[in-house]
């Protein structure tokens, strides 16, 4: 365990020592940002809208006490979405999509000697291949999480009003009640940490693949599993430290 962690640290260090030119890295980061960010908008939108909708409907189903105002549903949807569901669930979804893509892509490059080709040319392969992926993830995950927050709350609104569970003005009142701006910052901090963990772990697993197609599949699976575990541990640690 400690050996793997040590290798992971050295792996990350190798990205920044003897790095490639900034212009090259920036161009690569923009390319990766398109793949990681733009290509993930659809899945993030679908997942977050339905999470918001389901959360709203289930809270409404359980909140039957007439003393508790209907606006509480909106309040709870907002709190749950911003604090937990949007950053954590979105990043778990992205661990599956982006993490497997990074690990699979790098693993394939490794077994087809494309990484060796870079190294023979004197190019720092971790700097060229891994650093832009991590940077792109760190830039794009928070944007996707913001999108997820908005769509979750919107999904909750549509589900709550279209099913007749609550009146629109109650929901809007609820999401405006006792708003704590720090929660947004907390969610964004979580998304940056999760982005680093997902992209770093996935790149590490993919980069160190050896063997053939079977091992690439195993690296992708390992990347997703380890990323999700890391997200859940980090989620707890961040909540304990920052809240």
């Amino acid at each position: 365990m400690f050996t793997i962690f040590g290798k992971f640290v050295l792996f990350l260090q190798s990205m920044v020592t003897r790095r490639e030119r900034l212009a090259v890295l920036w161009a690569r980061t923009v390319d990766e940002a398109m793949l990681i960010g733009v290509d993930s908008v659809f899945i993030v939108a679908i997942v977050s809208a339905f999470i918001g909708a389901v959360t709203c409907v289930q809270i409404a189903y359980n909140l039957t006490n007439p003393i508790i105002p209907q606006s509480t549903i909106g309040y709870m949807v907002r709190e749950m979405t911003i604090l937990e569901l949007a950053p954590t669930i979105t990043c778990i979804v992205l661990a599956g999509k982006v993490g497997s893509s990074i690990a699979g892509g790098l693993g394939t490059m490794r077994i087809t000697e494309q990484i060796s080709a870079l190294e023979v040319m004197g190019i720092n392969s971790t700097s060229y291949l891994v650093f832009p992926r991590i940077l792109a993830a760190v830039l794009m995950f928070p944007l996707l999480v913001i999108l997820a927050m908005v769509l979750s709350i919107l999904g909750g609104y549509l589900a709550g009003t279209l099913t007749g569970a609550m009146a629109p003005q109650d929901y809007i009142e609820g999401i405006r009640t006792d708003f704590v701006p720090y929660n947004i910052l907390f969610a964004l901090i979580k998304s940056v940490v999760f982005a680093f963990l997902v992209s770093g772990i996935s790149a590490f697993k993919g980069f160190n693949t050896s063997g053939g197609a079977l091992e690439v599949g195993a690296a992708s699976t390992g990347a997703v599993t380890n990323s999700i575990i890391a997200i859940l541990i980090a989620d707890f640690v961040l909540a304990a430290v920052l809240l």
Partner: protein, 269 residues
């Protein structure tokens, strides 16, 4: 010239290279010959820097590579071109972009126009002037090897390494690739090292051959000498080739010059 001195390499206590000394001469096709698992590819990877030898040193034209400063090793690496066994073309780039890639990365001072001209020249040199816009998945194995050669020579390399350039190719295409490597070696006076177990390549382009067996260098010489050699392991290796066996049969039966007209002494085997 590349000088390899007492290279040793083990994996989990299993010695793969057992103290290899050899020299790869400039302007020649140097062949690393041997059966599977004899350490050819490991030696090649040690030379190009993909693997670090346990003991020994490698010198490129008088500059020590092994254990030298990173900047010096980097400088040497930038003079190296390599053709990989599976070509190792970048899947996400077109053929032209693959050839342009080392130029973009290693010679940023080159203008876009100069780079384009160089890419066109290299693709033309390997006979692929019309394939520039194709993706690697759209071209044949032989074409991939040609693109690999074009990419290797694009930054005007001083050392060209080829890891089994004929693997997966039909005999006719293999000979074309061999001849292309041979022509390029002489045209640019570069030091070429080719890992192979193909006797056709030995006969076709083997100007300097180093025979490895069980991690040791057993013999080195020219393609003319190899046909008369008395090293049992090498003889076994040569006669494992059905082409050579057939040539010997023809020779035994009545004198058709074995192998090729250029190598009548080959009839001795």
């Amino acid at each position: 010239m590349i000088e390899v001195s007492n290279i040793q390499k083990s994996f989990d206590g299993n010695a793969v290279l057992k103290g290899i000394d050899c020299t790869f001469e400039t302007g020649k096709c140097n062949l690393l010959l041997g059966g599977s698992g004899t350490g050819k590819s490991v030696l090649l990877q040690c030379i190009v820097g993909l693997m670090k030898p346990d003991i020994g040193s490698i010198t490129f034209d008088g500059t020590v590579y092994t254990n030298n400063k990173v900047a010096i090793r980097q400088e040497i690496r930038r003079k190296i071109g390599m053709l990989f066994q599976g070509s190792a073309l970048f899947d996400s780039m077109t053929v032209s972009e693959n050839v342009a890639f080392p130029l973009q990365m290693l010679t940023p001072e080159m203008s876009a126009e100069e780079r384009r001209d160089r890419v066109e020249f290299c693709l033309k040199r390997v006979g692929l002037e019309n394939a520039g816009e194709k993706m690697p998945a759209e071209i044949s194995g032989g074409m991939k090897k040609r693109v690999g050669i074009a990419r290797a020579i694009a930054p005007q390399c001083t050392y060209l390494f080829c890891d089994e350039p004929n693997s997966g190719l039909d005999p006719a295409t293999s000979i074309k690739i061999d001849n292309l490597i041979h022509e390029i070696t002489h045209e640019y006076d570069i030091t070429t090292v080719i890992v192979t177990h193909d006797m056709n390549s030995v006969i076709e382009i083997g100007e300097h051959i180093i025979f490895l067996h069980q991690g040791k260098k057993l013999w080195d010489g020219t393609k003319d000498e190899i046909l008369n050699v008395e090293v049992p392991e090498l003889k076994d290796f040569i006669f494992s080739s059905s082409l050579v066996r057939a040539a010997k049969r023809v020779d035994d039966e009545g004198g058709l010059a074995a192998i090729t007209d250029e190598h009548p002494e080959g009839a001795n085997i």
